[in-house]
Amino acid sequence: MIGSKRKGLGVITTAAIATSALLISAIPAHAEVGVSSSEIKLGITVPQTGPAATGYNKVAPAMKAYFAYVNANGGVNGRKINLIIKDDKYIPQEAINMTNELILKDKVMAIVGALGTANNLAVASKVQIASRGVPSLFVNTGYSGFADKKKFPTTFALFPSYAMEAKAIAAYLKENLPTAKTCVLLQNDDFGADAAAGFKTGGVTFTETVKYVSGTQSSATGQTWIGKFATAKCEVVVLFGVGTANAIALGVAAAGGYKPQWILGSVGSDVTTIKATLNNPQATALMNGAIGASWAPDSADLTDEYAKQFREINTTYNAGAVFDNNVMVGMSEGLLIVQALRAAGTNPTRKSLIAAIEKKGSTFASAGYSALGYSATSHVGQTGFWFGKYNLAGELKSVDGKYTMYTTDSAAGPVVKTEQKRLPMPAKGLPSN
């Protein structure tokens, strides 16, 4: 009898242990901030209103629309993505305020697609997202510094840097316009400084360099810029400003009959911004014949599988927003974010999210034509540009029809021309990694 009692206790004990183990395995080991059984909360700060909002205010709604599409198709491992959009008006202190709200009040798991170098630097310094362990995924800026894992260990770049773009443009100029008198418009901040460093590395000497302070661009200042370019008899002018500045330059030049060969940087070539800045729906005609650099397909390219899929999603989920490059950026970031969340495991944490991008990020499908550079030691995203020519509608068409990529780094590495290559768009735009 004693023996059987002991046996019975043993069975009960074993069963209890087994039940406990089952219960334990059913409960996430660590409930992460912003992650519940049904939802993943993410946050984004962007200028939704104010002078910098034009064009940029389409990025976050597009990302949200993509998430809505993913949510309608089962979400991420059963969880729906809830994107909270905060308007920072492109004011650094407001970006700090809004990010604090997202992290402390809304308790998001991660910041995604935060826009602007000054704002991201302000947030890094004053909100300390790194020491908090909060991921900042795929920042919407090309400042090369954000790819520095040591300084910004939780931040990941997506765009190729301004320095990379400048080096690519320098290479293009050397190949195609080696003797032309070349000039440049730069923004007098990190954006311009990053680019200036890239042009210098690329060996370009500008006949005239015009810089403007962010926020001072106007018709009056535009007259000054164009006056300087015309006086210097610039045959090629690289407009490496933001969209509003580039638009003003194009508008003033056209009005004055000044017609250099324009080269438009990717930041300032958004047709929505150019049309809105000049308050002229036909303003894209001013871009006609300009050379442009881009890391991803033009949104108007109906043959591109990414653009095509995003356009379809936009039609259903983005309240009739006009599909343009800003929408493409928002959805491209969304696509990467979903893959990152999936790669972070069934119960993603902030740590596992960062680790997943470092480990598997280079294998994520992306609209960009160059390889993604994510690794355990690098937070660099896209690394290359293709060159095209704008048509009357403001669409960028590959100059060689092959989207040859000019890939490089942000430092002194060479510019290498490669064939464009990328992973196919996941079926129906829904990652299954």
Binding site: A52, K89, Y90, Q93, Q128, N188, D189, A193, K211, G215
Partner: protein, 556 residues
């Protein structure tokens, strides 16, 4: 630092009459009777006054329903010299050494805080310290003696909480480091931390920047001996205020491109840059916050979608915030530099090797608009270069600097449960002070946890060491600037939470007191829901262990 304003001298008035109890001022006993406090038993409290052997007066008030916990308060920096009438803002100040038993921004609030604490059953006490100015060493000595006197007089004292504001916070931490057995908990508030050198470097940088850009006749340090040095220091206060007033008027007249003061000798190439940008550069490179009592850096007047609104928030508001802060910081810089030079015997500020570009760091981009762009900032930094003979650097006296470094310095060791409170936009003791202490505390916690894990490997038992330190932050609201109907900034409202120096509400003081009381009596910090409830009820306080303020520029 705290207690700089003349209104603070009204502590005596408080001691003469409080709202809760009617007290009779008792003549302070002489030093010879130092250990023999003179007490008056009132209806609900016992009040004693006396002096420690160094002659520093003190007051203690013990409620009839005493919990056994004494709060020993250390007041902040009081000017060490009289200031002639006629000098704006601070003129007419007389050196005062009256004891202060509780924190507060004036007699009324000190009364309110002390009264409420007595009502909670806490005893309150504080010395006036025998000397004013930077008196950390003598203040520490006074407090050590005072604790002994009070424990002897009131055997019911079972726990002692040391707390103090600004320089008093520095003294409080010093007490906790050097005499941990005398106290059971510490609460340094809006504290200076680390060393006097770290604190005065901010003032030195600011004065040197103002001098270099706006008025080369500003002496800014290395004051002459005797009356001549006093006159120089007083003259500097006037000059600092004149610069501030001139810049304020210039910004009001033309916010976009305010003129430079006539006293400025910078070349035209620098004067082509708006003077407000030079002001922001001086503030940011010194570590003075750009957010101030009335300027939030995130709003502007008028339509929030307009370009003017964004430009104001990004470029003008930081300049006005710096202006509002730098006047206070520079006055303290003048007086504290003068004070410590007298103590040390020569110039104690040396920026011959300071790299101001490195001091700016990423702020160069964050404040890009306020600095009028990268080229303008680079141009101004080039003007500040040590290679520019028009911007001579300040040269310290090695002997004086060595002597300054012998003054009380913190190790950052946390020996007793410590609750520090700091404001994110304090212009006198910036948040980097408390952050320095928080960093040291974090290092110790990491080390003790590593040691505990190592011990586990040999002993098999593991007790996770708990943190003995927390920072309670007074953070600025997201938006608080006010504008008049005509779009001018309205500076009449009270300063926003998280701005100003030791700008603390009575509820906030009492919340810290309650947390310190609990820590002293349990040996552990209050955490979790109880902590959050306490902070929520006080308003304007937050516990955010993920937040790390920027350290003082001294550490860059």
């Amino acid at each position: 630092m705290k207690n700089l304003m003349s209104k603070k001298n009204k502590v005596i008035a408080f001691l003469a009459s409080t709202s809760l109890v009617t007290m009779t001022m008792v003549a302070l006993p002489s030093a010879a009777r130092a250990a023999d406090p003179s007490c008056t038993d009132l209806v609900v409290i016992t009040q004693c006054v006396g002096a420690t052997t160094d002659g520093a007066g003190y007051v203690v008030q013990v409620p009839a329903k005493f919990t056994g916990t004494l709060f020993l308060f250390s007041h902040g920096y009081r000017y060490p010299v009289d200031i002639p009438a006629g000098i704006p803002l601070v003129g007419g100040y007389k050196v005062v050494s009256s004891p202060q038993p509780a924190p507060g921004g004036g007699a009324a609030q000190i009364t309110e805080v002390a009264t409420a604490m007595l009502g909670k059953g806490y005893a309150v006490a504080g010395s006036g310290f025998v000397t004013q100015g930077w008196n950390a060493d003598s203040g520490l000595k006074t407090n050590v003696e005072l604790i002994g006197i009070l424990k002897k007089k009131f055997p019911k004292i079972t726990k002692v909480v040391a707390w103090g504001e600004s320089l008093g916070g520095f003294i409080t931490q010093g007490l906790a480091e050097k005499y941990p057995t005398l106290i059971d908990a510490a609460a340094p508030l809006c504290m200076a931390a680390g060393s006097v050198e770290a604190e005065l470097t901010m003032g030195g940088d600011a004065l040197w920047g103002l001098k270099t850009f706006f008025d080369p006749t500003l002496v800014g340090g290395n004051y002459a001996a005797g009356a001549a040095g006093y006159a120089q220091a007083m003259g500097d206060i006037v000059k600092v205020l004149t610069i501030a007033g001139t810049l304020q008027a210039a910004i009001a007249a033309n916010p976009t491109a305010p003129a430079w003061p006539a006293t400025s000798k910078v070349p035209d190439s620098i004067k082509a840059i708006p003077s407000r940008s030079a002001l922001v550069l001086v503030g940011v490179m010194s570590g003075i916050p750009t957010q101030s009592a009335h300027f939030d850096n995130s709003t502007g007047p008028g339509d929030p979608t307009a370009t003017a609104y964004v430009s104001y928030a990004s470029a003008i508001s930081p300049a006005l915030g710096t202006l509002e802060n730098i006047a206070q910081a520079a006055i303290l810089g003048v007086l504290a530099t003068y004070d410590v030079e007298l103590q040390a015997g020569g110039a104690i500020f040396d920026n011959t090797k300071t790299d101001y570009a490195a001091r700016l760091g990423s702020d160069l981009y964050t404040y890009g608009s306020a600095l009028s762009g990268l080229d303008a900032a680079s141009g101004m930094l080039a003007y500040l270069s040590p290679l520019n003979p028009a911007a001579p650097r300040a040269v310290g006296n090695p002997n004086a600097m060595a002597k300054m470094r012998t003054l009380l310095t913190h190790t950052g060791k946390i020996n007793v449960p410590t609750i520090a409170m700091g404001a994110t936009a304090d212009p006198i003791t910036p948040a980097g002070n408390v952050q320095w202490l928080a960093d040291r505390a974090a290092e110790q916690l990491t080390a003790s946890r590593s040691a505990a894990k190592a011990a586990y490997l040999t002993s098999g038992s593991y007790t996770k060491p708990a943190s003995n330190f927390m920072t309670i932050w007074q953070k600025t609201p997201a938006k608080y600037s006010k504008y008049t109907a005509t779009g001018s900034p309205d500076t009449t409202p009270a300063g926003a939470n998280g701005t100003g120096h030791c700008n603390t509400t009575t509820k906030q003081y009492l919340a810290i007191a309650d947390l310190a009381y609990a820590a002293a009596n349990t040996g552990q910090l209050v955490v979790g829901g109880k902590l959050l409830t306490t902070l929520r009820k006080a308003g304007g306080l937050s516990y955010d262990p993920g937040f790390k303020a920027s350290l003082l520029k001294f550490y860059n």
